[in-house]
Symmetry: C2
Subunit: 183 residues, 2 copies
């Protein structure tokens, strides 16, 4: 951030009065520009004993498998965001069952939320950011080709919890220390 | 938003190529400025049969009682944000037990997350945005003087769930339709 989005003058980085951390503050109109973590909402779509995964056609992790998920938009509930992403990425019609997993990723200021969801039909198809959509039984899941740790953990929880048909919410922090580059 | 925070030129509002909703886009450098919901993280601090509430000294809802909570900051986990807000608003030392309630408030693009927490000592005291901090038994809670519906719901869930000592995660949307002003 270099300029004030309100008045167009340069911003500086300083701790505003009454605050305790540096913010971008306009040198002219003194508007404070807060920056906050973003939410990624998604679904774990289930049909009988199979789960729906999408193979990514875009970076990062193109070619690897993921659950349909993406940035929550202003004006949406977390469940609405998860449904929208499931339609956009997999053209899949689901109904939400309940919130299931949550992950804080502070090194990239993101919070993931996955909802268990029921596929309402099998008319799914790859969306624009997806090159394939497929239903997998547990033994068919491409564990070595999953795109992100939050996907692996959500699937592992699901297949474990399914054995006793109880699905408590799982919440975990994935903390990766930033280290100085060693070249 | 009037100006590009990257290059300082004016922004326009349009649907970028490959997107499906209007964004602020710079007329000069074409940077797309996304805006997303914010997370408010807080604690439900418990000591024996009492819960800790803070009386707000700032608007909105000054003078009303709330749980310690505030905007999650970049670089924090949701639990770290909840702990920080509990220290800032109530100078209270707690340990997190688990995530407990979540609320989507799409009309203001906010997502609330409250954690159950255990008070580690009774050395709490009002912080800068608080005029009083107090422990309340269920029958003492000032139900008519709570600051926000999410506070009322979290407390009601807690006193209900405490009867059988089971605390499942509660997730709910609080949807308030925007209506045209009737003057």
């Amino acid at each position: 951030m270099n300029f004030c989005s309100h008045c167009g003058h340069p911003v500086t980085r300083r701790i505003p009065t009454g605050d305790n951390r540096p913010r971008y503050v306009c040198v002219e109109c003194e508007a404070i520009h807060y920056q906050n973590p973003r939410i990624i909402a998604g679904c774990l779509p289930v049909h009988e004993d199979r789960v729906l995964l999408c193979r990514r056609s875009i970076q990062p992790r193109a070619g690897l498998w993921t659950l349909p998920a993406g940035f929550l938009e202003n004006g949406e509930t977390t469940a609405q965001g998860a449904l929208r992403e499931t339609r956009e990425e997999a053209n899949a019609n689901v109904e939400i069952i309940d919130i299931y997993t949550m992950f804080s990723l502070p090194h990239i200021s993101q919070v993931y939320m996955f909802f268990r969801a029921r596929l309402l039909d099998l008319d799914f198809a790859a969306g624009e950011e997806t090159e394939a959509v497929h239903l997998f039984r547990e033994e068919e899941v491409p564990w070595d080709e999953l795109a992100f740790p939050v996907i692996t953990e959500t699937l592992k929880h699901y297949f474990h919890d399914r054995q006793r048909n109880e699905f408590p919410v799982h919440s975990r922090d994935i903390v990766i220390e930033r280290r100085p580059s060693t070249g």
